[in-house]
Protein backbone atom coordinates (compact mmCIF):
# COMPACT_ATOMS: atom_id res chain seq x y z
CA UNK A 1 0.00 0.00 0.00
CA UNK A 2 2.90 2.26 0.60
CA UNK A 3 3.52 2.36 -3.13
CA UNK A 4 -0.02 3.40 -3.96
CA UNK A 5 -0.17 6.09 -1.31
CA UNK A 6 3.31 7.31 -2.19
CA UNK A 7 2.45 7.59 -5.87
CA UNK A 8 -0.76 9.43 -5.13
CA UNK A 9 0.72 11.90 -2.66
CA UNK A 10 3.78 12.64 -4.73
CA UNK A 11 1.69 13.22 -7.83
CA UNK A 12 -0.59 15.59 -5.94
CA UNK A 13 2.39 17.46 -4.53
CA UNK A 14 4.10 17.77 -7.88
CA UNK A 15 0.88 18.82 -9.63
CA UNK A 16 0.34 21.38 -6.88
CA UNK A 17 3.79 22.90 -7.11
CA UNK A 18 3.92 22.94 -10.89
CA UNK A 19 0.80 25.05 -10.95
CA UNK A 20 -1.61 22.48 -12.28
CA UNK A 21 -4.20 23.46 -9.69
CA UNK A 22 -3.74 27.19 -10.18
CA UNK A 23 -6.77 27.51 -12.44
CA UNK A 24 -9.02 26.21 -9.68
CA UNK A 25 -8.33 29.12 -7.37
CA UNK A 26 -11.57 30.12 -5.66
CA UNK A 27 -13.43 27.12 -7.02
CA UNK A 28 -13.43 24.19 -4.57
CA UNK A 29 -15.33 21.83 -6.85
CA UNK A 30 -12.84 22.41 -9.59
CA UNK A 31 -9.93 21.81 -7.20
CA UNK A 32 -11.42 18.53 -6.01
CA UNK A 33 -11.87 17.44 -9.59
CA UNK A 34 -8.24 18.35 -10.33
CA UNK A 35 -7.09 16.31 -7.34
CA UNK A 36 -9.19 13.39 -8.57
CA UNK A 37 -7.35 13.64 -11.85
CA UNK A 38 -4.01 13.54 -10.01
CA UNK A 39 -5.03 10.31 -8.32
CA UNK A 40 -5.87 8.77 -11.67
CA UNK A 41 -2.49 7.04 -11.91
CA UNK A 42 -2.27 5.99 -8.28
CA UNK A 43 -2.97 2.43 -9.09
CA UNK A 44 -4.46 -0.15 -6.85
CA UNK A 45 -7.96 -0.62 -5.65
CA UNK A 46 -7.52 2.11 -3.10
CA UNK A 47 -6.38 4.44 -5.86
CA UNK A 48 -9.65 3.84 -7.63
CA UNK A 49 -11.63 4.57 -4.49
CA UNK A 50 -9.63 7.72 -3.83
CA UNK A 51 -10.46 9.01 -7.30
CA UNK A 52 -14.12 8.10 -6.79
CA UNK A 53 -14.18 9.93 -3.48
CA UNK A 54 -12.81 13.17 -4.91
CA UNK A 55 -15.02 13.07 -8.00
CA UNK A 56 -18.16 12.57 -5.94
CA UNK A 57 -17.11 15.32 -3.55
CA UNK A 58 -16.46 17.64 -6.50
CA UNK A 59 -19.91 16.80 -7.80
CA UNK A 60 -21.53 18.17 -4.68
CA UNK A 61 -20.06 21.60 -5.34
CA UNK A 62 -21.38 21.53 -8.87
CA UNK A 63 -24.80 20.57 -7.57
CA UNK A 64 -25.17 23.40 -5.08
CA UNK A 65 -25.61 26.90 -6.40
CA UNK A 66 -24.39 30.03 -4.77
CA UNK A 67 -22.00 30.46 -1.89
CA UNK A 68 -20.11 27.41 -0.74
CA UNK A 69 -19.43 27.21 2.95
CA UNK A 70 -18.68 24.63 5.59
CA UNK A 71 -21.96 22.86 4.95
CA UNK A 72 -21.04 22.24 1.33
CA UNK A 73 -17.70 20.76 2.36
CA UNK A 74 -19.47 18.47 4.82
CA UNK A 75 -21.96 17.30 2.17
CA UNK A 76 -19.11 16.82 -0.26
CA UNK A 77 -17.28 14.55 2.19
CA UNK A 78 -20.43 12.54 2.82
CA UNK A 79 -21.06 12.25 -0.92
CA UNK A 80 -17.51 11.00 -1.37
CA UNK A 81 -17.93 8.36 1.31
CA UNK A 82 -21.27 7.20 -0.07
CA UNK A 83 -19.76 6.85 -3.53
CA UNK A 84 -16.89 4.74 -2.18
CA UNK A 85 -19.29 2.52 -0.28
CA UNK A 86 -21.51 2.11 -3.29
CA UNK A 87 -18.62 1.33 -5.60
CA UNK A 88 -16.93 -1.23 -3.39
CA UNK A 89 -19.91 -2.57 -1.53
CA UNK A 90 -18.20 -2.55 1.86
CA UNK A 91 -19.93 -1.46 5.05
CA UNK A 92 -18.71 -0.69 8.53
CA UNK A 93 -17.27 -3.84 10.08
CA UNK A 94 -15.76 -5.20 6.88
CA UNK A 95 -12.26 -4.10 7.89
CA UNK A 96 -11.68 -1.57 5.14
CA UNK A 97 -11.18 2.17 4.71
CA UNK A 98 -14.94 2.43 5.11
CA UNK A 99 -14.49 1.70 8.80
CA UNK A 100 -12.84 5.09 9.17
CA UNK A 101 -14.67 6.94 6.38
CA UNK A 102 -18.25 6.17 7.39
CA UNK A 103 -17.94 7.17 11.06
CA UNK A 104 -16.27 10.40 9.94
CA UNK A 105 -19.12 11.11 7.52
CA UNK A 106 -21.68 10.36 10.22
CA UNK A 107 -19.93 12.76 12.59
CA UNK A 108 -20.06 15.53 9.99
CA UNK A 109 -23.73 14.96 9.32
CA UNK A 110 -24.69 15.62 12.91
CA UNK A 111 -26.15 19.03 13.64
CA UNK A 112 -23.02 20.31 15.35
CA UNK A 113 -20.65 18.11 13.40
CA UNK A 114 -17.10 19.38 13.20
CA UNK A 115 -13.87 18.34 11.58
CA UNK A 116 -12.41 17.50 14.99
CA UNK A 117 -15.27 15.10 15.61
CA UNK A 118 -14.82 13.54 12.19
CA UNK A 119 -11.10 13.07 12.80
CA UNK A 120 -11.80 11.44 16.14
CA UNK A 121 -14.47 9.20 14.65
CA UNK A 122 -12.06 8.14 11.92
CA UNK A 123 -9.40 7.35 14.49
CA UNK A 124 -11.84 5.33 16.56
CA UNK A 125 -12.95 3.52 13.42
CA UNK A 126 -9.39 2.65 12.50
CA UNK A 127 -8.68 1.42 16.04
CA UNK A 128 -11.78 -0.75 15.84
CA UNK A 129 -10.43 -2.53 12.76
CA UNK A 130 -7.69 -3.99 14.95
CA UNK A 131 -10.15 -6.40 16.48
CA UNK A 132 -12.08 -7.23 13.35
CA UNK A 133 -11.88 -10.54 11.62
CA UNK A 134 -11.52 -10.78 7.85
CA UNK A 135 -14.22 -8.93 5.96
CA UNK A 136 -15.85 -9.73 2.67
CA UNK A 137 -13.86 -6.95 1.06
CA UNK A 138 -10.50 -5.35 1.31
CA UNK A 139 -7.12 -6.96 1.38
CA UNK A 140 -7.79 -8.95 4.52
CA UNK A 141 -10.52 -11.03 2.92
CA UNK A 142 -8.13 -13.80 1.96
CA UNK A 143 -6.00 -13.86 5.07
CA UNK A 144 -6.27 -16.24 8.01
CA UNK A 145 -8.12 -14.64 10.93
CA UNK A 146 -5.29 -15.30 13.40
CA UNK A 147 -2.85 -13.15 11.45
CA UNK A 148 -5.20 -10.22 11.57
CA UNK A 149 -5.90 -9.65 15.21
CA UNK A 150 -4.19 -6.64 16.66
CA UNK A 151 -3.34 -5.20 13.27
CA UNK A 152 -5.41 -2.36 11.86
CA UNK A 153 -6.65 -2.15 8.31
CA UNK A 154 -4.12 0.00 6.41
CA UNK A 155 -6.84 1.80 4.45
CA UNK A 156 -8.64 2.82 7.61
CA UNK A 157 -5.32 3.89 9.09
CA UNK A 158 -4.60 6.06 6.06
CA UNK A 159 -7.99 7.76 6.30
CA UNK A 160 -7.41 8.48 9.96
CA UNK A 161 -4.00 9.99 9.27
CA UNK A 162 -5.35 12.11 6.44
CA UNK A 163 -8.21 13.54 8.51
CA UNK A 164 -5.96 14.23 11.45
CA UNK A 165 -3.52 16.06 9.17
CA UNK A 166 -6.42 18.02 7.69
CA UNK A 167 -7.48 19.07 11.17
CA UNK A 168 -3.94 20.09 12.05
CA UNK A 169 -3.56 22.17 8.93
CA UNK A 170 -6.71 24.21 9.42
CA UNK A 171 -5.80 26.66 12.10
Amino acid sequence: MNLVVERGCKKIQSDLMSGKYAHTNGNPGSLLKAIAKSTDEMGGTSGGFTETFFKAAAGKFAEIDGQHGDETWKSAFVAGVNAVMKQGGASVGDRTMVDALKPAADALEKEDGSLAQAARAAKDGYEATKSMGPGKFGRSANVRPESLLGQPDPGAYAVSIALEALLMSKQ
Partner: protein
Protein backbone atom coordinates in the same frame (compact mmCIF):
# COMPACT_ATOMS: atom_id res chain seq x y z
CA UNK B 1 36.38 18.43 29.71
CA UNK B 2 35.38 15.46 27.67
CA UNK B 3 33.41 12.90 29.56
CA UNK B 4 32.46 15.21 32.38
CA UNK B 5 28.85 16.25 32.59
CA UNK B 6 27.57 19.00 34.79
CA UNK B 7 24.67 18.31 37.09
CA UNK B 8 22.10 20.93 38.01
CA UNK B 9 19.65 20.89 40.82
CA UNK B 10 16.06 21.13 39.66
CA UNK B 11 12.68 21.03 41.29
CA UNK B 12 9.47 19.82 39.73
CA UNK B 13 6.14 21.09 40.85
CA UNK B 14 7.36 24.04 42.91
CA UNK B 15 4.95 26.56 44.24
CA UNK B 16 5.26 30.14 43.12
CA UNK B 17 5.74 31.34 46.66
CA UNK B 18 8.62 28.96 47.15
CA UNK B 19 6.63 25.99 48.31
CA UNK B 20 8.71 22.88 47.88
CA UNK B 21 7.85 20.87 44.87
CA UNK B 22 6.70 17.37 44.20
CA UNK B 23 10.17 16.22 43.23
CA UNK B 24 13.65 17.52 43.52
CA UNK B 25 16.80 16.13 42.11
CA UNK B 26 19.85 16.47 39.99
CA UNK B 27 19.64 16.68 36.25
CA UNK B 28 22.67 16.41 34.06
CA UNK B 29 22.97 18.44 30.90
CA UNK B 30 22.46 15.24 28.99
CA UNK B 31 19.00 14.75 30.49
CA UNK B 32 17.72 18.04 29.19
CA UNK B 33 15.71 16.60 26.34
CA UNK B 34 13.94 14.20 28.62
CA UNK B 35 13.22 16.86 31.16
CA UNK B 36 10.57 18.63 29.10
CA UNK B 37 9.11 15.31 28.04
CA UNK B 38 8.84 14.22 31.67
CA UNK B 39 7.26 17.50 32.66
CA UNK B 40 4.74 17.34 29.87
CA UNK B 41 3.86 13.72 30.32
CA UNK B 42 3.12 14.61 33.92
CA UNK B 43 0.80 17.45 32.89
CA UNK B 44 -0.86 15.38 30.18
CA UNK B 45 -1.47 12.48 32.52
CA UNK B 46 -3.22 14.77 34.95
CA UNK B 47 -5.28 16.26 32.15
CA UNK B 48 -6.23 12.82 30.91
CA UNK B 49 -7.20 11.78 34.40
CA UNK B 50 -9.45 14.82 34.76
CA UNK B 51 -11.02 14.81 31.33
CA UNK B 52 -10.19 11.60 29.51
CA UNK B 53 -12.84 9.61 31.27
CA UNK B 54 -15.62 12.08 30.45
CA UNK B 55 -16.68 11.38 26.89
CA UNK B 56 -18.78 14.50 26.57
CA UNK B 57 -15.72 16.65 27.22
CA UNK B 58 -13.47 14.64 24.97
CA UNK B 59 -15.95 14.69 22.12
CA UNK B 60 -16.45 18.43 22.24
CA UNK B 61 -12.75 19.22 22.21
CA UNK B 62 -11.52 20.93 19.10
CA UNK B 63 -8.10 22.31 19.97
CA UNK B 64 -5.67 23.04 22.75
CA UNK B 65 -4.25 26.22 24.16
CA UNK B 66 -0.85 25.62 25.69
CA UNK B 67 0.73 28.25 27.87
CA UNK B 68 4.41 28.12 28.51
CA UNK B 69 4.92 30.57 31.29
CA UNK B 70 8.17 32.22 32.27
CA UNK B 71 8.26 32.17 36.05
CA UNK B 72 10.49 35.20 36.06
CA UNK B 73 14.14 34.82 35.29
CA UNK B 74 14.40 32.65 32.20
CA UNK B 75 15.97 34.27 29.15
CA UNK B 76 13.89 34.61 26.00
CA UNK B 77 16.23 32.34 24.09
CA UNK B 78 15.78 29.62 26.66
CA UNK B 79 12.00 30.13 26.70
CA UNK B 80 11.88 29.51 22.99
CA UNK B 81 13.92 26.33 23.38
CA UNK B 82 11.38 25.12 25.90
CA UNK B 83 8.48 26.09 23.61
CA UNK B 84 10.04 24.11 20.80
CA UNK B 85 10.42 21.09 23.05
CA UNK B 86 6.79 21.41 24.15
CA UNK B 87 5.64 21.62 20.54
CA UNK B 88 7.70 18.57 19.60
CA UNK B 89 6.24 16.61 22.48
CA UNK B 90 2.66 17.43 21.61
CA UNK B 91 3.09 16.39 18.02
CA UNK B 92 5.22 13.34 18.48
CA UNK B 93 3.54 10.00 18.48
CA UNK B 94 4.65 9.39 22.03
CA UNK B 95 3.24 12.66 23.29
CA UNK B 96 -0.34 11.61 23.46
CA UNK B 97 -3.05 13.49 25.17
CA UNK B 98 -6.73 12.80 25.60
CA UNK B 99 -6.81 9.19 24.48
CA UNK B 100 -4.17 9.63 21.81
CA UNK B 101 -5.94 12.17 19.64
CA UNK B 102 -3.83 15.01 18.32
CA UNK B 103 -5.15 18.53 18.09
CA UNK B 104 -4.28 21.89 16.59
CA UNK B 105 -2.38 23.87 19.16
CA UNK B 106 -2.30 27.56 20.00
CA UNK B 107 0.79 28.38 21.97
CA UNK B 108 1.10 31.25 24.40
CA UNK B 109 4.41 32.22 25.85
CA UNK B 110 5.35 35.06 28.12
CA UNK B 111 5.56 36.26 31.68
CA UNK B 112 2.00 35.45 32.65
CA UNK B 113 2.57 34.73 36.28
CA UNK B 114 5.92 35.37 37.80
CA UNK B 115 7.95 35.57 40.89
CA UNK B 116 11.20 37.42 41.35
CA UNK B 117 14.28 35.39 40.55
CA UNK B 118 12.37 32.23 39.77
CA UNK B 119 14.40 30.58 37.09
CA UNK B 120 11.85 28.17 35.76
CA UNK B 121 8.79 27.58 33.66
CA UNK B 122 5.28 26.35 34.09
CA UNK B 123 3.13 24.71 31.46
CA UNK B 124 -0.64 24.95 31.40
CA UNK B 125 -2.83 23.13 28.93
CA UNK B 126 -6.36 24.26 28.22
CA UNK B 127 -8.76 22.04 26.37
CA UNK B 128 -10.86 24.20 24.06
CA UNK B 129 -14.37 23.21 23.01
CA UNK B 130 -15.48 23.38 19.43
CA UNK B 131 -17.93 26.24 19.77
CA UNK B 132 -15.02 28.60 19.20
CA UNK B 133 -15.93 30.91 22.05
CA UNK B 134 -12.79 30.26 24.06
CA UNK B 135 -10.65 30.82 20.96
CA UNK B 136 -12.31 34.19 20.48
CA UNK B 137 -11.77 35.16 24.09
CA UNK B 138 -8.15 34.10 24.05
CA UNK B 139 -7.52 36.15 20.94
CA UNK B 140 -9.55 39.15 22.04
CA UNK B 141 -7.76 42.48 22.27
CA UNK B 142 -6.79 43.65 25.71
CA UNK B 143 -4.83 46.44 27.29
CA UNK B 144 -3.22 44.07 29.75
CA UNK B 145 0.49 44.43 29.02
CA UNK B 146 1.48 40.99 30.20
CA UNK B 147 -0.90 39.19 27.88
CA UNK B 148 0.91 38.11 24.77
CA UNK B 149 -1.34 36.73 22.06
CA UNK B 150 -0.92 33.15 21.12
CA UNK B 151 0.18 31.75 17.81
CA UNK B 152 -0.69 28.56 16.01
CA UNK B 153 1.95 25.92 15.86
CA UNK B 154 2.21 23.22 13.28
CA UNK B 155 3.69 19.76 13.55
CA UNK B 156 7.44 20.06 12.97
CA UNK B 157 7.29 18.27 9.64
CA UNK B 158 4.72 20.73 8.32
CA UNK B 159 6.41 24.00 8.92
CA UNK B 160 7.04 25.53 5.55
CA UNK B 161 8.34 28.81 4.27
CA UNK B 162 5.53 31.13 3.30
CA UNK B 163 6.30 32.97 0.13
CA UNK B 164 5.69 36.70 0.06
CA UNK B 165 3.10 37.65 -2.56
CA UNK B 166 4.63 39.58 -5.40
CA UNK B 167 8.18 38.73 -4.44
CA UNK B 168 9.93 36.20 -6.63
CA UNK B 169 12.99 34.44 -5.42
CA UNK B 170 15.73 34.20 -7.97
CA UNK B 171 16.61 30.63 -8.58
CA UNK B 172 17.83 28.55 -11.42
CA UNK B 173 14.66 27.10 -12.83
CA UNK B 174 13.44 25.62 -16.05
CA UNK B 175 10.74 27.32 -17.98
CA UNK B 176 8.29 24.75 -16.63
CA UNK B 177 8.78 25.75 -13.04
CA UNK B 178 6.11 27.85 -11.46
CA UNK B 179 6.72 29.67 -8.22
CA UNK B 180 4.17 28.14 -5.96
CA UNK B 181 0.87 26.57 -6.72
CA UNK B 182 -1.17 29.59 -7.74
CA UNK B 183 -3.68 28.67 -5.07
CA UNK B 184 -4.28 30.70 -1.98
CA UNK B 185 -1.58 29.87 0.61
CA UNK B 186 -4.00 28.31 3.07
CA UNK B 187 -5.25 25.84 0.48
CA UNK B 188 -1.71 25.05 -0.59
CA UNK B 189 -0.73 24.39 3.01
CA UNK B 190 -3.66 22.07 3.58
CA UNK B 191 -2.81 19.95 0.56
CA UNK B 192 0.87 19.83 1.50
CA UNK B 193 0.16 18.94 5.12
CA UNK B 194 -2.13 16.04 4.30
CA UNK B 195 0.10 14.55 1.62
CA UNK B 196 3.20 14.92 3.81
CA UNK B 197 1.48 13.17 6.69
CA UNK B 198 0.50 10.25 4.48
CA UNK B 199 3.96 10.02 2.94
CA UNK B 200 5.57 9.94 6.36
CA UNK B 201 3.57 6.83 7.22
CA UNK B 202 4.25 4.86 4.09
CA UNK B 203 6.49 2.30 5.69
CA UNK B 204 3.89 1.67 8.39
CA UNK B 205 1.26 0.97 5.74
CA UNK B 206 3.57 -1.50 4.16
CA UNK B 207 4.29 -3.24 7.45
CA UNK B 208 0.60 -3.57 8.30
CA UNK B 209 -0.28 -4.67 4.84
CA UNK B 210 2.33 -7.40 4.93
CA UNK B 211 0.73 -8.80 8.03
CA UNK B 212 -2.88 -8.42 7.07
CA UNK B 213 -3.18 -8.37 3.38
CA UNK B 214 -1.49 -9.39 0.24
CA UNK B 215 1.34 -6.98 0.93
CA UNK B 216 0.92 -4.60 -1.91
CA UNK B 217 -2.26 -2.65 -1.25
CA UNK B 218 -3.06 -2.71 -4.88
CA UNK B 219 0.04 -3.29 -6.90
CA UNK B 220 -2.02 -5.73 -8.89
CA UNK B 221 -3.17 -2.82 -10.92
CA UNK B 222 -5.89 -0.32 -10.96
CA UNK B 223 -9.37 -1.63 -10.70
CA UNK B 224 -11.25 -0.64 -13.75
CA UNK B 225 -14.06 1.29 -12.25
CA UNK B 226 -16.88 1.96 -14.58
CA UNK B 227 -17.43 5.57 -14.07
CA UNK B 228 -21.03 6.49 -13.63
CA UNK B 229 -20.09 9.95 -12.48
CA UNK B 230 -19.57 12.17 -15.42
CA UNK B 231 -19.00 15.72 -14.48
CA UNK B 232 -18.73 18.81 -16.48
CA UNK B 233 -17.39 21.49 -14.21
Amino acid sequence: MLGESIAYQVGLGLGIHGEPGAEKGLISDMDQDNFTNDLLSNVCQRLDAAIGSRPELVSSTASLAVMVNNLGAVSQAEMLIVCNAVASYLYSRTGTILNGYRYPVQMFTGHYITSLQMYGISVTILVLPDDGLMNELLQAPTTCTAWIKGFSIRPPEDRTVISIPGFHYEKGSTSDDVDGSGLNPETETIIKTVTKALLSHCDKFSAIDQKTGDGDFGDTGKLNISNTLSLDL
